[in-house]
């Protein structure tokens, strides 16, 4: 079985994506993965701090490309979405060009683009989302998703600006926020629109409870990584999104 190398470009204070993505992909029935990270300094989730972090992207791509990954996930959703509508295409395009210019065969995905891709994959048109962000940034995330033809019916901002604290938000608080959303007419719920806000253990249970597909930045990232590598999307216990190809895969 070949091992697929996954490169992660993460905010330095992030711990969750490096936990949840390996946890998800470890459950894959037909492939193995290794994970390799490069870090951009970032502590406080604010517009200025995110801009300073994005300026480190080129260096991080240089570092991670040295490890010859098969696919790289730029794993900070809000940092991309504050760039305004369509930013994930610009960021992914710039990184793809950087990689191609140096002869790297690595693919590039972003958690921002992955969430959009995954929401379209479950054919969502009207969604509700829980974010950890300060309100102005959460509003930008909402606007970003709406610019991708996704009506955001309701949303919550937990207003945690310290990114290390975001990684410690208790699951009950996230679930409580999800329960408080007006889900009328909503066809998918994003229980964590942030790769740093832990939610992996909530996804399957929330899907049972709410009766609609429940996604997180992590499950969407896993979905996009699997699709990029043309591997079957067959990861149990993390929502219907990651069971898309399950029936077609021998257990």
């Amino acid at each position: 079985m070949t091992t697929h190398r996954i490169g992660l470009v993460v905010p330095s204070s992030n711990v969750t994506v490096e936990t949840e993505l390996p946890a998800l992909l470890r459950r894959h029935p037909a492939a193995r993965f290794s994970f390799h990270s490069s870090r951009m300094r970032m502590h406080t989730v604010s517009a200025a701090a995110l801009a300073a972090m994005n300026a480190q992207r080129e260096r991080c791509i240089m570092e991670i490309a040295d490890a010859s990954p098969d696919v790289i996930l730029y794993a900070c959703l809000v940092a991309v979405m504050v760039g305004g509508p369509g930013e994930h295409r610009r960021v992914e395009g710039a990184v793809a060009e950087q990689l191609a210019t140096g002869g790297s065969a690595a693919l590039i995905r972003s958690s921002a683009g992955a969430l959009v891709e995954a929401l379209h994959a479950v054919q969502a048109t009207r969604i509700a989302i829980v974010t950890p962000y300060p309100r102005p940034l959460a509003e930008q995330v909402v606007g970003y998703l709406e610019s991708e033809d996704l009506a955001v019916a309701d949303w919550r901002a937990l207003e945690v600006a310290d990114n290390a604290e975001v990684g410690c938000i208790p699951g009950e608080r996230v679930l409580e926020a999800a329960r408080s959303l007006d889900r009328t007419g909503v066809d998918a719920l994003v229980i964590s629109a942030c790769v740093q806000m832990p939610s992996l253990d909530l996804v399957d249970a929330a899907e049972q409870e709410f009766g609609i597909p429940v996604l997180s930045a992590a499950t969407a990232g896993a979905y996009s990584v699997l699709r990029s590598l043309r591997l079957p999307v067959a990861v149990p216990g993390a929502g219907s999104l990651l069971r898309a190809d399950t029936t077609s895969v021998p257990a």
Partner: protein, 207 residues
């Protein structure tokens, strides 16, 4: 032969190596005023493990771009005293050959051409030559990398008969270089034959 649709749209970028990025930026951006529009930081991730490098781009009008590669810590391969940083030749290489490969950029008017002449003459890279040909007027210099650099303007439009003539020349050239006598005389003789062969199909010029 069926005509192939001509769908290409000009120059995306033309790329050259540089060993003096500071002077290259001074020449293209600060002297000529070509905006820096793009850059890429990369390494040799492919099979050939080459040095880390910067690929940077200047706008040369129409959205077309001239780009440079700067490789950290890479010394130019050795060569003779003539030529540029990409191609070096010994002293006995004739100048016509050394300068034959060059980039020419286009301006619309004499005033624009003279504006670039003024910018260059006030710099470390003054115009070395200003030439008026039959159909064009050009200024020339060498950029900091030794690349022969031309800015040109058309004095009159190229007319359809010139295209026709050019195609006769090129067709004759292609034939002659595959034959026993590769010479100007052979080319002109073959071109004359082609004119005779094809003239029957030509329509008289409309006046």
């Amino acid at each position: 032969m069926a005509e192939l649709p001509h769908i290409i749209r000009g120059v995306d970028h033309v790329a050259f190596p540089t060993f003096d990025p500071a002077a290259t930026v001074a020449f293209y951006r600060d002297v000529l005023g070509f905006p820096v529009v793009h850059s890429i930081c990369a390494a040799g991730w492919g099979p050939e493990r080459h040095p880390d490098f910067i690929h940077f781009f200047f706008d040369i009008g129409n959205g077309d771009r001239i780009a440079f590669f700067y490789y950290f810590g890479f010394e130019p391969p050795r060569g003779g005293s003539k030529g540029d940083v990409y191609a070096r030749f010994d002293d006995d290489a004739p100048n016509f050959f050394v300068t034959s490969r060059h980039l020419a950029l286009h301006v619309d008017s004499e005033a624009d051409l003279l504006e670039y002449r003024r910018r260059l003459d006030n710099s470390r890279w003054p115009v070395e030559l200003q030439l008026q040909h039959e159909t064009i007027e050009s200024i020339y210099t060498h950029d900091p990398n030794g690349y022969f650099f031309e800015i040109t303007r058309a004095l009159r439009p190229v007319t359809p008969p010139e295209d026709l003539d050019a195609n006769l020349t090129v067709d004759a050239l292609v034939e002659v270089v595959g034959g026993p006598d590769v010479s100007m005389a052979a080319l002109l003789a073959r071109k004359a034959e082609l004119i005779v062969e094809r003239a029957a199909g030509w329509e008289p010029a409309k006046r």
